[in-house]
């Protein structure tokens, strides 16, 4: 499969392309072979040894971690996963850096644009955005290399494609398509007039809402200017009318009750719990009566310590320090705290015990994708 072209998708030389494809292969090898193998090593080797030594199973995540760290397999496979992810961004960045001036020129908003782009260079960056490059993606979502920069947007677009080794689809949109498809099928009479996608990045979860509800006005919000510039140019290139604005999703400039759907996809795992709480509060403020907040992740479940360890791989290995807090957060409690009624919170299912995005995305396709999230196998919908 090849990523679908658009006007500012970076191009590669023969060898740049080959090295990028190799990164996809590394990610696939880690996700489908090495990472799941840890469970076999645990069950087949380490757990029986622990039981023989202590006459019981490990009780905590740290006990399982210590036990697994005794094995070369665990240490080496984790190292490989880390290396794969570092190498991915570094490899993808090479071709983008080479052609950055032309990408910036192509991304400049045109007078005949059908959508819009609003930037706020004066906006202060939250400390958590400045202090951690999430996903070990150097520069995070907001760093600007020059005026009008789109580097981080291009890096994310091309990088996510190889991160999921094509599992997010040729247009990187499988997660958004699945989520919008779920809302359409679960609430067939719901006709949203305005939709906003928070933490929209380069728009991979935003555009599917326009496809699902062509009559609706669709907005995308992200903290990073390079993301928004890139997202705007990408959407325009495909003729999708979207209004992108650089804002902090926890305090936007939209009026109260402006939206019928406030959605976010793969955002909460990148935010500290207190920011998630603010995001929910802002979503509640922005929703019109009867409107809904739609997010990935389902009902909180208690996991065994071994699953807890394996499913927190991203937290432990590739700069997702806040994901553990998100994993332990009781969404229902957090949503009720900001004003949603418990009876108006709908889950499509329990939050899955496995949180490994690439693999999950690849396991979901076709009709199944319409009913099921591409990670965690579930959504939470909170209706105002």
């Amino acid at each position: 499969m090849f990523q679908t072209k658009h006007d500012i998708l970076p191009e590669q030389t023969h060898d740049e392309f080959a090295r990028e494809e190799f990164c996809g292969t590394m990610r696939k090898f880690f996700t489908e072979t090495l990472w799941p193998g840890n469970n076999d090593v645990y069950q087949g080797k380490q757990l029986p040894q622990f039981e023989a030594r202590h006459g019981r199973k490990p009780q905590t995540r740290s006990e399982v971690k210590e036990l697994m760290e005794e094995t070369f397999y665990y240490r080496c496979s984790n190292l490989f996963g880390r290396v794969a992810q570092e190498q991915l961004w570094d490899t993808v960045g090479e071709s983008i850096e080479r052609q950055l001036p032309s990408l910036i020129e192509k991304a400049r908003p045109k007078p005949d644009a059908i959508g819009s782009l609003e930037l706020h260079p004066e906006m202060p960056m939250p400390k958590y955005i400045e202090s951690v490059d999430i996903h070990v993606m150097p520069g995070n979502f907001h760093t600007e290399l020059c005026e009008g920069d789109v580097y981080q947007g291009a890096l994310y677009d091309r990088g996510v494609y190889y991160f999921a080794y094509g599992g997010m689809g040729a247009e990187n949109d499988k997660l958004g398509v699945a989520m919008a498809g779920y809302v359409k099928s679960a609430f067939p009479d719901f006709k949203p007039k305005r939709i906003v996608d928070m933490g929209a990045g380069m728009g991979f979860s935003t555009l599917p809402w326009k496809d699902a509800y062509p009559e609706a006005e669709v907005y995308g919000v992200d903290i990073g200017a390079p993301m928004m510039r890139y997202a705007h140019a990408r959407a325009e290139s495909w003729g999708k009318k979207i209004h992108f604005s650089q804002q902090n999703a926890v305090e936007t400039n939209f009026p109260d009750g402006f939206f019928d759907i406030v959605t976010h996809c793969l955002l909460t795992h990148e935010m500290p719990v207190k920011e998630i709480q603010r995001l929910f509060k802002e979503a509640y403020r922005l929703l019109a009566p009867g409107g809904m907040m739609v997010m990935d992740g389902g009902k909180h479940i208690k996991q065994d310590p071994d699953h807890e360890l394996f499913s927190s791989w991203f937290t432990n290995n590739v700069n997702e320090p806040f994901a553990s807090g998100m994993g332990r957060l009781d969404f229902e409690e957090a949503l009720v705290k900001v004003g949603f009624e418990p009876d108006n919170i709908v889950y499509s299912g329990p939050m899955g015990p496995v949180y490994l995005k690439g693999m999950a995305a690849n396991s979901v396709s076709g009709d199944k994708a319409k009913k099921q999230s591409a990670w965690g196998s579930a959504y939470t919908v909170a209706i105002k």
Partner: protein
């Protein structure tokens, strides 16, 4: 009769015998792994460049820098390259997969009696033969 690939079991890739000697455990290996996989990417790119040369040759086209850059990879060709990279991973990281195979084998809970029964031998016969 020609054997189909499906009827041939995969070759064994783990040798029996004494344990492999213990080598390094330094943290600096982490950095070497980064160098190592980057080098694998270079080898992979080189192999695919060669594949492009072969593709141009088969199409009777001249092999020049420009023709290599302009080469349009077909979907089947891309898939074949992906399969070749997957296979390379398994060869290069065989030693790690050996650990995995060992763990999976340890999962076996079948008694010796059941295993022998596959071959029509009873436990008593087995013990007699080994006496």
């Amino acid at each position: 009769m020609e054997l189909s690939s499906k009827s041939i079991a995969p070759r064994r890739r783990v040798a029996k015998g004494p344990k492999r000697p213990h080598y390094m455990a330094s943290q600096e290996i982490d950095k070497f792994m980064m160098m190592f996989t980057s080098l694998m990417a270079e080898v992979s790119a080189l192999r695919e460049r060669l594949d492009t040369h072969e593709g141009l040759g088969e199409a009777g086209k001249p092999v020049t820098r420009a023709s290599v850059e302009a080469y349009k990879l077909s979907l089947p060709e891309q898939q074949a390259r992906e399969a070749a990279r997957d296979a390379m991973m398994k060869r290069v990281f065989r030693i790690l997969l050996e650990d995995l195979e060992e763990a999976r084998t340890a999962l076996s809970t079948r008694d010796l009696e059941d295993v022998l029964a596959d071959d029509g031998t009873s436990l008593a016969e087995h013990e007699q033969a080994n006496a």
